[in-house]
Subunit: 166 residues, 2 copies
DNA sequence: ACTCTTACCCCTAGATATTGGGGTTAAATT
DNA sequence: AATTTAACCCCAATATCTAGGGGTAAGAGT
């Protein structure tokens, strides 16, 4: 592992701890050459399987781009989007799957988006779930009214998987 | 390391290779329990925590964009900015922190920017430190006159952390 | 003012990873 | 169509890491 300071190619591990409940390993390393120290994190690769069958690494950027359109003229800034994407990533990782269908990503976006902005949520859901009539909107609105904001689907699974996740 | 499939907490490394020219390590692991395999990647962490709580990887580009505005009409070219961003990254990495507040990035920019161009420095500081009056400028100017250019704060810490840094 | 949490620090023996070699396959590039 | 790249696969020796213990300090939350 390259030293971030002097670029020397060798470093040794000083300390090593599981983190995020074992979903990653955090190491403290020391450069063999210059003696400086730095931290690293080892995490499972998270690949998305597209409908075509092709896989690509999960990208927060792609999540953000997908959601941004639904947020036009809404009080949602880039930080909100970044935070949302982070939550989506956490939810997906917490399923434990190494590879995830693109559709699951769409599903994972819904709960945090609802918390962020219900208007954006409706727009997004209307596209993602193929609303075809006014009634579809009404139905979704009724659902939103009926269910208080709380964990659903993927997110509740993630609660099981990582109870302490806040 | 958790198995992404069955959640079992233990896995062993099957194969391990440096990648990205040594800036990361890719491992192939096998779950001790269910025998499934997955890949992981270990990389040096340098995350920036924004005020919103969102984190994103450190980006030299963002540093450059932030500083470029302050350098309008100043004799500062893209190479200078690239060098500055490199120094900022070094300064931040040399703190040994894995995660750094966005504000710290702003702080880390100040010393090398002063060395580069004091006018740009003043402009940048006036924004970054919220100058609200002419007196604020005068105060800063007085400080600049009083203190010769030399290591301050973060930069001096980095000297301690990585003595051999050339 | 305290508690919780997180990152940092240090130590050691036994368990595990690394890195050299040797390969295959699929996708991207020439 | 040939090449390159990146994952994937296998083996085996010993050098390295891990996980247990024990700490400190800073920051956030109560």
């Amino acid at each position: 592992m390259n030293c971030p300071f002097c670029r020397y190619e060798d470093s040794r591990v000083i300390d090593s701890r599981p983190s995020d409940e074992g979903s990653s390993i955090r190491r403290r390393r020391e450069c063999t050459q210059c003696g400086s120290r730095f931290s690293t994190s080892e995490t499972a690769v998270l690949s998305i399987i597209k409908r075509s069958g092709a896989t690509e690494p999960f990208s927060r950027e792609k999540v953000i781009n997908g959601v941004r359109k639904a947020c036009q003229n809404r009080p949602v800034d880039d930080d909100d989007l970044a935070l949302l994407a982070m939550r989506v990533e956490e939810a997906l990782r917490s399923t434990g799957q190494a590879e995830i269908e693109a559709q699951e990503v769409g599903m994972a976006i819904l709960p945090p988006l609802r918390e962020l902005d219900e208007v954006a949520y409706l727009r997004y859901a209307s596209v993602y779930r193929n609303f075809s009539s006014l009634e579809d909107f009404e139905g979704e609105i009724a659902l939103l009214r009926a269910l208080p904001i709380e964990k659903t689907e993927l997110e509740s699974k993630s609660q099981v998987a990582s109870p302490q996740l806040k």
